[in-house]
Every structure is written in C-alpha cells, then in structure tokens.
C-alpha cells in the first residue's frame, strides 16, 4: 500500500533522514518510534510531501507521490497533527468539513458526512457549533481525527496525536482509535516517542535512531530479539515497568 524507498532529507548540510526504506501493507498500522530529533516526523511529512524529500521515492498504491501536485496528494491522505492544528476561527463542524469542501463536495453531502465522522469519534452533536478553544484537549484531538477521516482517505498519517494529553484521556483516545481503525480497515503510519504506546497500538514497529531505520518488526519480535543496544534500551523500560507492575499485583493478591 505504502512503499518508501531510500527516502532521505538534508536540512542544509545536516542529514535528518538517511536513506530510509520500508513498506506498509493495506490495513496495517505501522508505528514509527524513536527519540526526539531521530527523523521520524520528517519521514512522516515526506510521505504526504509537507516536507519535500532530498532524494528517494514514496509510492502509494504503486503511484509515485511526486507525480501529483502537493495539495491534491494531501487531500487524499488523512493527517493528524501533533499540536492538533484545528483552525481556531472555525467551528467544530467547519473544521471537519474543510477537506470535503476542498474536494468540492455539495453542502448537503458535507453536512451528512460531518455528522457521521463526529459520531464515529464520539463527539456529542451539541458541540458541533463550538470553537476549538471551547473544547477539552481530548475533544479537540477527536475532532482532529474526525477531520482527517472525513474524506474517507485510504491512508492516514498521525504525528504524535495523543502526546500532549493526560494519561486517562490518552488511553481513551487510543482505544477509540484502535476501534475506528479496525472498523474502517485503515492503513496508517503513526509517529510516537512513547514505546508503550507503540507496543500497544502497532501491527509493526519501525524504530528510528539518528535518521536511520534501526529495526522493523512486530511488537513481539522487538521484545524478543532487539536488533541493537538502542532498541534493547527502548523496550527495556516497558518491560521493567510491566515486571514491577506484576510484582505489585502479586503483592496485592497475597
């Protein structure tokens, strides 16, 4: 479905992403994980050309993304932003409708579709006419997901979508997202620096470090056989936490 080949980006003389290659098959969720500055967000942005690559190619359904004008390409790909990115001067409804109006949908059809996706992300219809500033952080990001989903894209890109939320809200949104994705059979790339989030959500995980792809594999493969010391360290934290948690639970049981 998505094919990334030797994708690289330099900012001036500084390489941000060094010849990264991976594939995502239809209906799969790939989580790009790594520390800050590892190039994961840049890699994500090169897929819908928010950032133009220095070299390499990206194919979506076999088609080179550089063949289309950038804005046309982006209209077909759902994108959820790190800092939400809702337009503050528009209502919830208007925000969700933006991609549809850009695609030239008729007003009636837009209204219907906006209702559907807001229901999908569990936003109460009474909030439709509110401005983003009047919503909680969790509600805002639900609307952000709804906007990305509104035009029924085949591919979704998510840039640390739940990073800024409190743990409870994040958990609820993660659960909702898992459900929605299963239901729609979405192909998605999800960027996070949180290994636990990666392990919980991913079909496969791609670990990046210093602009390079270090390991790609299922959560199980990563836990069982980390490719190098860096991956080892990344998976060690959740593993240790899980052990501590188990001990605590055992103590409670006794």
């Amino acid at each position: 479905m998505i094919e990334v080949r030797q994708l690289a980006k330099r900012f001036g003389n500084t390489p941000a992403v060094r010849e990264v290659s991976f594939g995502v098959s239809a209906g799969e969720l790939l989580v790009l994980v790594g520390g800050s500055g590892c190039g994961k967000t840049t890699t994500l942005k090169m897929i819908n050309r928010l950032t133009e690559p220095t070299s390499g190619t990206v194919l979506i359904e076999g088609q080179d993304v550089s063949a289309l004008p950038g804005h046309v390409l982006r209209r077909g790909i759902g994108y959820v932003f790190q800092r939400v990115g809702l337009f503050p001067h528009m209502t919830v409804e208007q925000n969700v409708a933006v991609p549809l109006s850009l695609l030239g949908w008729a007003a009636g059809r837009i209204r219907e579709r906006v209702g559907e996706v807001l229901e999908l992300v569990e936003i109460d219809p009474s909030l439709r006419h509110r401005r983003p500033a009047e919503l909680s952080g969790g509600q805002q990001q639900r609307v952000g997901v709804a906007r990305a989903l509104s035009s029924e894209p085949k591919v979704m890109l998510l840039d640390e979508p739940f990073g800024a939320l409190d743990p409870l809200t994040r958990d609820r949104l993660q659960q909702s997202f898992v459900g929605i994705r299963k239901r729609l059979g979405l192909t998605a790339i999800f960027v996070t620096h949180d290994m636990i989030e990666a392990l919980l959500l991913a079909d496969r995980i791609a670990v990046m470090n210093d602009g390079r792809l270090v390991q790609v594999g299922t959560p199980h493969e990563l836990l069982a056989s980390p490719a190098d010391e860096y991956v080892e360290r990344l998976v060690d934290t959740p593993r240790r936490q899980a052990r501590t948690f188990d001990e605590l639970m055992a103590g409670v049981a006794r």
């Binding site: 819908n48 928010l50 950038g70 804005h71 046309v72 390409l73 982006r74 209209r75 077909g76 994108y79 932003f81 800092r83 990115g85 809702l86 337009f87 503050p88 001067h89 933006v98 991609p99 850009l102 906007r147």
Partner: protein
C-alpha cells in the same frame, strides 16, 4: 436628498471613499509584502516616509503634482489622493504583521489538509490576521477623518471649512463646531468598524447585520451625493476661489451671490486657497473666478519692482500680462486697494518716533516682525528689506487673523498688515509710510477664466456690475463686521449685495 449638513456630507465623501480605496490598495499590498519577503522592507519604508510628511503639506503637495499631470488640482482630487496615501501605512503595516504572526502550526495544518496557497490565504491566514488588520483600519479611519479637515486649503469642502473659516474670521464657535463634528465622526466610524469586527468574530448575525447595514447606508449616501455632485460639476457650476483671509471670504461670497442673482447659475466658493494656488487654479480652470491684487501679480508673477507707483499704470500692465500670457480675463477693479503695509501700535510708534518705514531701520535690529504665512517668502518683503536695508531681530510667521492681536498685545513689534483690515483702526495701529516706494499698489481686481467667458458671458456681465462699487472704507467696514462684529462673511456679503441691488 442632502440629509446631512453640506460640510459633513463633503467630509464623508472624502474620508469614506479614501478609506475604501486605502483598504483596497493596502491589504493586497500587505499580502504581497508578506509573501515576497524582499518587498516587505521597501514597501513599508515608502509608506513610512509618506507618513512622515506633515499631513497639510502632503495634501498641498498634491496640487502642483496634479497640475503638472494636467488633472484637476483644486478640490476633491488632491485631498482625496493625499488621504488615500495617508491611510495606507497603518493598514499595510497591520496586514503584514497580522499575516506574519499567524501560528506556523496552523499554516502547516492548512497545507496538510490540502489547501493551495491561495486557499490557505483566504480561508486561514487572512481570517486569522483579521483582528490585527481591523485594528489598522480603525487607526486609518481616525486619521483619515481627522486629516480630512485639512482638505479645505486645497479647495475641497470638509468639516475643516468650519475650522478654517472660524480661524480666519475669529469665530470661536465655528472652530469648535468643526473640531467636535470631526471628532464625533471619527469616533462614530471607528465604532462602526469595531462593531463589524466584533460581529464577525463572534459570528453574531444581528450585530454584523446592523453594522454592515449602517456602513452600507453611509456608503450609499456618500456615493449618491458624490455622484450627483460630480455630474453637476461638469455642467452647471461656477466655482469662486477665496484666499486665506476675511476680505477674500467676503468678496468671494459677493461674487458668487452676484452671479447667482443675475444669471441663476449656481456658484460655489472654494475657500482658503494659498495665493499662488488660487492663481494656478484659475489658469487651469479648476476655479472660474477670484479676486486678486494688482501688486501681488506685479511682484509675484511678473517679478517687477515697485518703481511705477502709479495705480493705473500697474493695473493696465497687469491686465495686459494676464490676458496675453495666461489667457485670463480681467473683469475690472473693485475700487479699493488692499496693500501690504507695515503697521505698529500707535503708542509704540510714537515713543520710537517712527512714522515712515525708513525710520524703522535704526530700531529694527531690536524689534520683531510678524507676517502671514506668505509674507516672508514674497517679493514685496524682499523689496522692502533691500530698499530700506531693514533687518529685524526675529521674523515670525502666523495666521493673518492672529497677527493684529499679536501686535496689539506686544508679542511682536511690527506686522505686515493689510491696509483694508478694519482692525488697524480698531486696535489703534498705525500704518508706516512706504517713503521709498518698495510696495506696489494693490488694486483688488476680479479675475475670471477664459472658459467662464465662453460658457457664461452673462456671468462676466454680472461681475462687471461690481466694478468700482467698493471703496477702501466700505471694505474696511465689511472686514471689521466679520473680524470684530462676529458676523458671517455670507451675511456681510448679502447685506452689501442687497444694498447694491436696491440702488439699481
């Protein structure tokens, strides 16, 4: 149709249209400057330089520029262009700032959902920059309404007419009316812009509707009255010019009243024109008729010395010069002279034993002289200085209506008085004898454009009936009635005309 007082309507016609054009120029320019980075500094720089020009000077500078371009240089156009230029900076700067301060994350979001650069601008950047742009428009609104009062000296009617007339004729209440009306208008329009902004921001349909409706009505009214006026200007209207002092206001009203009475053609007065502005305006046909003084033309335009002090010689040479060189019709002399004259307080002159200008030479280095705005730049002053070897300790320019008060109160020792000014006698001043003949005679003459003679020969005939009807005493009385008696120039002119018509 004219629901509002004439000066207010004229003021709206200037300020509202200038603002609209200012917005239409500045916002796109601001967008361009925000997009094309290297343009930002030059564009903002030019706008800032325009802003540093004193507003009155900016409007006045339009007169020769437009005349050089063979465009109407007196009246609406120069004031309008000056106001547009003045309104540009605040809107432009706020547009650039507003666009520059849009959160980059939102610009990326706009790109991310697939907007083209133009869609991004229209749907995201401009709406988000709007509060800052509106703030700029509000500043421009207040400036434009305020500065529009300075349109009067370039011949455009505005609320400034109250102020300038009041200043010239020492009518404090007229000055106050003008100032307060301009201030109230500025605040009202500012409030209206604010209302539009608030309604838009809060998505308040009712508020927005009321504010936009009121704005639309104002523009409709302005548009209709302006359109009607422009149409009328092209056909049936005689424009009488007046320079910046009481006598000119009275005389211009007399000329206008006489022509309307005799021919039925509407005649209007363009007030407070500088003296060369008035002459240029007549030459280019921007005004049709005004009163000038033979000595002024003699000295300023013909660059002649005062040697032949014979009134009729000067008059006939001036007539010939105007006819042959400028195609201007000299209708005739009104019958009095209004000469530049040096005047002092009687008591002070007697103490210093000064009777003639040559007596001043000894004392001048310790004395100060006050003159109207033009005086120290005029050929007559150069001639006086050279002929007598006069050098005063200080030269102070001031409004001609204030200089009599200034000399009477001893703020200055000598002034460049006008010999027909009633305040010379009223304030116990004496006119010093020009014993070396540096000052030419100043017969008041009616000058008319060639166009007026072609189009309205009957108006020229009407004016000719005024020739020789006003002697020095009559003019002094009329001036005094305005300056000290508190009457309006229009009323004084009407009284004169009615007496004239009754005699016939």
């Amino acid at each position: 149709m004219d629901l509002l007082p004439g000066y207010l309507t004229a003021h709206l016609q200037l300020a509202l249209v200038a603002l609209l054009v200012g917005i239409a120029v500045s916002v796109p320019l601001g967008v361009l400057a925000a997009r094309v980075r290297w343009l930002e500094q030059p564009v903002l720089g030019v706008a800032s330089v325009i802003q540093t020009i004193p507003s009155l000077a900016l409007l006045a500078a339009m007169v020769p520029l437009l005349a050089a371009a063979h465009l109407p240089s007196i009246g609406y156009l120069p004031a309008f262009i000056g106001l547009v230029l003045y309104s540009v900076l605040p809107i432009l700067r706020n547009t650039v700032t507003g666009l520059a301060t849009v959160d980059p994350a939102l610009i990326e979001a706009a790109r991310g959902v697939g907007m083209t650069p133009r869609q991004r601008l229209v749907r995201v950047e401009l709406p988000l920059a709007m509060p800052v742009i509106i703030a700029g428009i509000r500043t421009a609104t207040i400036w434009t309404v305020g500065i529009a009062t300075l349109s009067t000296p370039v011949g455009a009617t505005s609320l400034g007419n109250y102020i300038f007339t009041g200043l010239q004729t020492r009518n404090q209440s007229a000055i106050l009316v003008g100032c307060i009306a301009a201030a109230v208008l500025a605040l009202t329009l500012d409030g209206l812009v604010r209302l539009v902004a608030v309604g838009w921001e809060r998505r308040h349909r009712g508020l927005l509707g009321v504010a936009l409706g009121a704005t639309a009505l104002l523009y409709l009214y302005t548009g209709v009255t302006l359109g009607r006026e422009l149409l009328r200007t092209q056909h049936e209207r005689i424009l009488v010019g007046a320079k910046t002092f009481t006598e000119q206001y009275v005389l211009s009203e007399i000329l206008a009243g006489q022509m309307m009475h005799e021919t039925g053609t509407p005649a209007e007065v363009a007030q407070a024109l500088g003296s060369t502005v008035a002459f240029d305006a007549l030459r280019t046909g921007d005004i049709d008729v005004y009163v000038d003084y033979s000595g002024t033309i003699w000295a300023t335009l013909m660059h002649r010395e005062a040697s032949p002090t014979n009134r009729s010689d000067v008059l006939s040479e001036v007539e010939q010069f105007l006819r042959e060189r400028h195609g201007i019709v000299v209708v005739g002399a009104l019958g009095f002279e209004n000469a530049y004259a040096l005047a002092m307080r009687r008591e002070r002159a007697e103490r210093l034993r000064v009777r003639r200008i040559s007596d001043l030479v000894l004392h001048a280095p310790t004395l100060s002289i006050g003159g109207d705005y033009e005086f120290f730049g005029r050929a007559e002053w150069r001639a006086i200085r050279e002929r007598y070897g006069l050098g005063f300790a200080t030269e102070r320019s001031m409004d001609s209506s204030l200089m009599y008060q200034a000399v009477a109160q001893g703020n200055v020792d000598v002034i460049s008085a006008f010999s027909t000014d009633g305040r010379i006698a009223a304030l116990e001043l004496v006119v010093l004898e020009d014993d070396r003949g540096a000052i030419p005679p100043y017969d008041a003459v009616i000058l008319a454009s060639e166009r007026l003679r072609r189009r309205h020969p009957e108006a020229i005939d009407a004016l000719r009936r005024l020739v020789g009807t006003i002697d020095g005493d009559a003019m002094r009385r009329m001036n005094l009635a305005v300056d000290e008696g508190g009457q309006s120039p229009t009323a004084v002119a009407r009284a004169f005309l009615e007496a004239l018509w009754n005699r016939e």
